[in-house]
């Protein structure tokens, strides 16, 4: 019987692999950015899963509640940070893609080879 | 050259002459058909070398300038250059009638008829052609003349250069041999030094 955590782990790694695969197979820069985002999502899922406790509760200290049954709050904090950073990077990337399109007239990675060797 | 000077040779000079006559090297200027007579003269039948006479290649080394045949204006110029490059004592031998009076080319507009107007000829070998016997005989008489100290025609070129020069210039204008015979004559003491 596969536990929820296992499903989540598998899903998150699958997402990471799919994202990376997109990055290394897609020529379209937008798709590359999307691929990275998919990988990001996978990572975030992974982080959250690590903090996941089967049947755990919201990690808020209330009267009479022990920390043992809470999900780990640290990964969630991490995920928040990671999401913010991911958002920033994605925005910057998309801006750059726009600029690149304005400059080169293409978003095809295979035609963007002014810098090589 | 007066007889008095001839008799005034010292004993040393006499001995020297008798040695020098045994070695005569010859530059043959072969423009004419006469050259064909020279190989038999040199090789085994007549063997010129027994008198010490050998063919030589450059004028610097030669004592005898053998002119074997007619001379045109063009070749005469060369002959004069070559003669002036030879070292004294040097002897011009005219070979065949062409050099004496033009021979069979007497009527030609292009040949020189008399060699001795341009160069001091020591000896003429008459004939058309002179046979090897004649050549040998001619050389023998040259040797005799050297031995007696009479073969001095080369000095004439130094002493009477004006005469030769005038004839040369008359025939082909100015020629430049990079050498002043008049200076040479004074340098070597063949004529009095002019102040």
């Amino acid at each position: 019987m596969i536990s929820t955590a296992q499903i989540l782990y598998i899903t998150s790694f699958a997402l990471i692999v799919i994202g990376l695969y997109a990055v290394l197979s897609q020529r379209n820069l937008i798709r590359v950015v999307i691929g990275l985002n998919i990988a990001d999502v996978g990572i975030n899922l992974l982080l959250v899963t690590i903090g996941y406790v089967e049947g755990g509760r919201v990690p808020i200290f209330a009267a009479g509640q022990s920390a043992g049954t809470m999900v780990d709050p640290v990964p969630q904090a991490l995920v928040l940070t990671a999401i913010v950073i991911g958002f920033g990077v994605t925005a910057l990337m998309l801006t750059l893609v726009m600029r690149i399109y304005a400059h080169h007239g293409t978003v095809d990675a295979s035609r963007l080879r002014g810098l090589k060797w | 050259m007066s007889d008095k000077e001839l008799t005034q040779r010292s004993a040393w000079e006499t001995v020297l002459a008798s040695l020098k006559k045994r070695s005569l090297w010859m530059l043959h200027y072969c423009t004419g058909c006469g050259a064909v007579e020279l190989p038999p003269t040199m090789t085994s039948r007549f063997d010129m070398e027994r008198f010490g006479i050998m063919p030589m290649v450059t004028p610097r080394q030669a004592d005898i300038l053998l002119i074997t045949g007619y001379l045109s204006v063009k070749t005469l110029k060369r002959v004069i250059l070559i003669y002036e490059q030879m070292q004294a004592p040097k002897y011009v031998v005219g070979f065949g009638s062409c050099t004496i009076n033009g021979g069979m080319y007497w009527n030609s507009y292009a040949t020189m008829k008399s060699l001795d107007r341009y160069l001091p000829v020591e000896l003429y070998l008459a004939g058309c052609m002179p046979r090897p016997e004649a050549i040998i005989s001619g050389f023998n008489s040259l040797i005799d003349r050297i031995d007696r100290g009479e073969a001095n025609s080369w000095k004439d070129y130094y002493e009477n250069y004006e005469f030769y020069r005038k004839n040369q210039e008359h025939t082909f204008g100015d020629i430049e041999t990079h050498r002043s015979i008049a200076d040479d004559a004074q340098y070597y003491g063949f004529v009095e030094v002019t102040k």
Partner: protein
Amino acid sequence: MVSPMLFIIAPLSAAFIMILFNSRVIALGLSLLVPIGLAWLGLSWLPYTLGAAQPILVASIPAPLGIPLSIDALGAGMAILVAVSAALVVLYSSSYMKKGHHEVRYYTVVMILLTSAFGLVLTRDIFNLFVFFEILCISSYILVSWEQDGAALEASFKYMVLGSIGSTFLLVSIALVYRVAGSLAMADVATALATAPRGYVAFAAVTFLFGVGVEAAIFPVNTWLPDAHSSAPSSISAILSGFVIELALVVAFRVLNTAFAAVDTLPLVRVVAIAGVIVGEMAAFGQKDLKRMLAYSSISQIGIMLFAFSLGTQAGAQAGLQHLLMHAGAKSALFLIAGYFIVRTGSRLIADYAGLGHRMPVSAALFGFAALSLVGAPPLLGFFTKFQVLSAAGAAGGFTAWLGVAVILFGTVLETVYLFRVLRVLFAPAASGSPARADMDWPALAAVALFTALVVFGALLLPTLSQMIGPMADGLASLL
């Protein structure tokens, strides 16, 4: 005692202040003063950190919940290097950057970059490391694309994609580590990983190595470097090649060597380092573009430092750190001079610099000295550092160590050839008469001259340096 927190707060607040005032003078003044002040601060702490058995902790909340920041000898040393380099580059930028060309924003981003650089040095928490790493990356992306021309955009985008993959791997690593350690402080990580399954740790270590390795330009994840370093403004190239990649290298290696000490990654690192040396030199050999050539040279130099670290000995670590110092000085100088070559000729191609040495004699001479030091000509600093790397390798022994020696020696030959090919072009006879002198402007010249002086007369510092380098090298092998 002033809190080391200042290292992070000062540049960050300077960045906000200058964007607030939007005045060139204030921006320039702040971005000169802050690094100089911090450098002075670092210098004043250096004696304590050298003597201190324990690093100075600054975080008020204790681990595991707190954010441990600490400064040790290595941290202080790196902080000084970063601050001094930054100050000099800013000095250079004052004349190099075109006036009104978003200049204030430029300095702002540089200050943010500095913030993250100091943060990387000081942090003792893996997730903080990730955060500073990301800030460093983002500010670098922005600076690389500063010129906004086709090449810069393209380079920046490639950098960004690879950087993002790197942070992905870094996060994977962090997640894995957190899963077993339950803490993100490096000290806890080290103890927790010692008992973890080794395959698991190895996976975490490799993802960490190549995650941070992107910024440290470790072979083969350094493919962005030639593009980014050559397309960025030259002052930024100097920053990137001068201390950013070195800093990332030190951080990456330190964490790998301490937190992930459970698995012996040194052989892997050594192979990667040797491959980097040879690939970098070979790729630089045929370059026609000056900055690109220098960028490839950086790849190989990083390889040399990493090789020295990977020997796993105290001597190796010392040699690597000294080589790092030399490379920071020499490569910054080379990039900064190359920047003015480009300004004066409008071209990046070496072939277009024919006779430039007659127009810019001082710059060309400084270029020559920096190049001499880079290839390790005695008695310049480069010789001593390279010699130490080699003798440390010899002392460590083993096939890969001697292979590394051979490769470094061969690489040096190649490096000499291509660098002096540039010099030959620079001093080619002038095409027409004696051209007008057009050396670098004086602030730039001063900055470059100081960098060059470091590598030329650095050998005189060696006795002093060798006293400090021991504790610093210890920092590479020990946590906290």
